[in-house]
């Protein structure tokens, strides 16, 4: 469902994404992990058509993102790391706006919008301007907007940030249900427990290059050490220096 071949993005001399080759089948929840500045968000921007690659190609549902960005965007949804939405629109107006941009039938929107607001516990806030929403409420509104047009592929950049435990659980359940229904989910996250419990496969990216890919078990065996995904991640990304940091803080 998601495929890339030699995807490369350079910002002047800095290589943000370094010849990424990836294939994610339909219905898979793929976790994209990496330290800060590793190129996760840039990869999402490339795959969703927000950025043009320096070289390489990518396909969503068999549609070439560079050649037919509109076709690819029709079947995908994006939740960015910062859920910025128009502060002077109400929640309902934002959803209507998104629905119209994605050409969702107005009758379908009228039915689905109250359902989505109810599902994310935003029904009392639907007529309020977004400027009065908290970070978590904006995150849920963006998620509702993404689900409105029923995409086949979802790109989520840190989707759990700002959500309270109840909402985080709800969102996790939604992702699992969507995955069972055949929706492919590409998720960047720093919350390793969520990646461990939710993702079918995980890719680890460092300095723009994907250094490891596999299930949690496969990654464990690659790092030759048992333990949680956090331990594996720190081992694989050379993050053991954090012990030095702890020593420094203790001094």
């Amino acid at each position: 469902m998601i495929k890339t071949e030699g995807l490369l993005k350079k910002f002047q001399d800095v290589v943000a994404v370094d010849r990424l080759d990836l294939e994610v089948p339909a219905g898979e929840i793929f976790g994209f992990l990496g330290p800060n500045g590793a190129g996760k968000t840039t990869t999402v921007k490339l795959l969703t058509g927000l950025l043009k690659p320096t070289a390489g190609r990518s396909w969503i549902g068999g549609i070439d993102v560079q050649r037919d960005p509109r076709g690819a965007k029709k079947i995908m949804g994006l939740v960015p790391d910062q859920p910025y939405v128009y502060p002077h629109l109400t929640g309902k107006e934002f959803l209507r706006f998104v629905g119209d941009l994605y050409d969702v039938d107005p009758r379908r929107q009228i039915k689905r919008i109250p359902e989505l607001l109810r599902m994310f516990e935003l029904e009392d806030m639907g007529d309020e301007l977004v400027e009065s929403y908290s970070h978590g409420m904006r995150q849920k509104l963006v998620l509702a907007g993404v689900l409105l047009h029923e995409p086949k592929v979802l790109f989520l950049d840190e989707p759990m940030v700002g959500l309270d435990p109840k909402s985080a659980r709800l969102v996790k359940d939604i992702f699992q249900e969507l995955s069972k229904g055949g929706v492919t989910i590409f998720m960047c996250t720093h919350v390793l427990e969520i990646a461990e419990k939710l993702c079918h496969r995980i890719g680890i990216v460092e300095k723009g290059r994907m250094t490891r890919i596999g299930t949690v078990e496969e990654l464990r065996s690659q790092s030759q050490r048992a333990g949680s995904l956090e331990d594996v991640f720190l081992r694989l990304t050379g993050g053991d220096e954090y012990r030095a940091l702890l020593k420094y803080l203790a001094e």
Partner: protein, 553 residues
């Protein structure tokens, strides 16, 4: 204070050193264009001022009057742009929540933010004054000392105006309870309208040109000799400059000292006021309010005609909803309406006794309406892309081309712009009692101009987007805004000079009493206008689209 100034210096240094070659070339190229425009203005002013100076007996008085009008206008512009900008820089800027929690004294922070406001709300207005003052210096034969004097006096002059504007914002934020930004903005807009009225009364441009209407020349001279708003720094500035030009150094010193002393006093008063009211004002501004607005689901954009596509209707509906809820926008709108009212009143009061004069003014009126439209587009069309702000990703991720986005923005700019332009030219033509030919020519021209200026506004706005800026005034006064304005004025000037050929043929035919029309000049002018409009619209739109495609936002 040094710490805060250092941050600004580092920001500037990073901007200068980290720009790509393409960006440097783009900025440099357009800056050169801006410079060229200023040079053209300079030569225009040299001609006008030389002609005025040559008038016997009253030449020097005319120059002083013109000088005082220029300074008064500049003074008011700085006061109001500082007042508008101060709301954002002092109360809603993003860096404030970090800075206010540092151990910096609030007084230092307030003074630094006031300085920042003063610099960015006055630099463009002061730069616009340079060609005029340069021409004044040349016409009156001044040396380098004159320009040093201007630099020396310009700083306290601009600072006093800014301090007044910032004080105005602070007072409004103190008077109104927490986050009543709408009320504050409305009050400010009314104050700006009043300011414009006072400007029109003090500067009295209509009386200034009505020499023939004053019964005796003595009255006219008395009118010229009367000070223009004698208690404002603009008048002291005019006297200091004209005294220097006349070699009266004693007066220069006394007016310079007065300007300096008032600037220091204004700064001290402002800081004292800030010390008492700033922190509480900032804290109150952070308290979020709740605003409900209930529209039945599915009827949000019902008023937008259905012949537009669903996406375009959604884009227009969204832009309109944001426009009417954003108090920043309608304070700008009210200010604009005041400018239009002052313009129409001035047109009505103009003494136009001869058909020649009436014809000339009605033709120049097209240019003036073009200028008003360019200013409206700078306020409302140019910032449209930037105002998408950090929500730009919503449009970029949606299955629509950038052309649809730019097209939607163009429509939401063109529709109101064409209505404003046509109404303005229609009403001013009615006041001027112009011929039907001129009515049709001016209406047609203004309609096409509205389209071209909307296209240029969207195109330049896409070429120089400022998604991180929070304030429309900042977007307008950015380098991109200045470049748009220069290009727009150049376009208006070019259109007017091409149409002058048609107007001349029309008036020569009328004077001669027979048709002097021939098809060659009409076709040539028509073709030239077509090319000018195509280049004016397509150039910026193509460049803007390419830039948005490349940009990492």
């Amino acid at each position: 204070m040094i710490f805060l100034l250092r941050i600004q210096f580092l920001k500037l240094k990073n901007w200068l050193t980290r720009s790509t070659t393409g960006e440097t070339l783009k900025t440099g190229g357009f800056a050169l264009l801006g410079l060229l425009f200023l040079v053209l203005l300079y030569f225009g002013f040299v001609r006008v001022l030389s002609a005025l100076r040559a008038v016997e007996i009253i030449g020097a008085l005319l120059l002083l009057k013109i000088l005082s009008m220029a300074f008064l206008t500049t003074f008011f512009m700085i006061v109001f742009s500082s007042a508008l900008a101060a709301f954002t820089t002092l109360f809603f800027a993003r860096d404030l929540s970090m800075l206010i929690h540092t151990p910096l004294p609030h007084r230092t922070l307030f003074f630094f933010k006031s300085l920042e406001t003063a610099v960015f709300s006055s630099w463009m207005v002061m730069v616009a004054l340079v060609p005029f003052l340069g021409a004044y210096g040349r016409v009156t034969g001044q040396g380098a000392g004159f320009y040093f004097l201007l630099m020396g006096l310009g700083i306290p002059f601009a600072w006093t105006a800014s301090a007044l504007g910032i004080g105005l914002s602070m007072t409004l934020m103190s008077v109104f309870p927490a986050r009543r930004v709408r009320e504050v903005m409305l009050t400010l807009a009314i104050l700006i309208g009043t300011g414009l009225f006072l400007w029109a009364r003090w500067a009295a441009p209509a009386r200034f040109v009505r020499a023939d209407n004053l019964e005796v020349i003595i009255q006219y001279i008395a009118q010229l000799e009367a000070p223009t708003a004698p208690y404002l720094p603009s008048w002291w500035m005019s006297l200091a400059v004209s005294s220097y030009a006349a070699g009266r150094l004693g007066e220069v010193l006394s007016y310079g000292a007065l300007l300096g002393a008032v600037a220091v006093a204004a700064g001290a008063l402002l800081v004292a006021f800030g010390e008492r009211a700033y922190y509480s004002g900032w804290a109150a501004a952070q308290e979020g309010g709740r605003r409900r607005t209930v529209t039945p689901l599915g009827r949000e954009w019902r008023w937008i005609p259905r012949f537009f596509s669903t996406r375009v209707r959604a884009l227009l509906g969204k832009d309109f909803a944001i426009f009417r809820r954003d108090s920043n926008q309608w304070s700008q709108l009210l200010m604009l309406m005041s400018i239009v009212a002052v313009y129409l009143i001035s047109i009505r009061k103009l003494p136009l006794d001869t058909p020649y004069l009436r014809g000339l003014v009605s033709f120049l009126n097209i240019g003036m309406v073009g200028f008003v439209l360019a200013s409206v587009a700078l306020r409302f069309v140019f910032p449209e892309i930037s105002l998408e702000g950090r929500a730009w990703w919503v449009l970029r991720a949606a299955p629509m081309s950038l052309w649809s986005v730019l097209g939607g923005k163009f429509l939401s700019g063109f529709l109101p712009l064409s209505v404003v332009g046509v109404v303005l030219v229609w009403v001013s033509n009615a006041f001027l009692h112009v011929d039907p030919f001129v009515v049709w020519l001016s209406n047609g021209t203004v309609f096409v101009m509205a389209g071209a200026l909307a296209g240029m506004g969207v195109g330049f706005g896409a070429l120089f987007p400022r998604f991180n800026l929070e304030n429309i005034a900042q977007i307008q006064t950015s380098a991109g805004g200045m470049i748009y304005m220069v290009a727009a004025l150049f376009y208006v000037g070019l259109t007017l000079s091409l149409e002058a050929v048609i107007m001349r043929l029309y008036y020569y035919s009328r004077v001669a009493g027979r048709s002097l029309w021939s098809w060659e000049p009409v076709v040539l002018v028509g073709a030239a206008l077509l090319v000018v409009n195509l280049v004016a619209v397509a150039g910026p739109l193509l460049m803007g689209k390419a830039h948005l495609e490349r940009a990492d936002i």
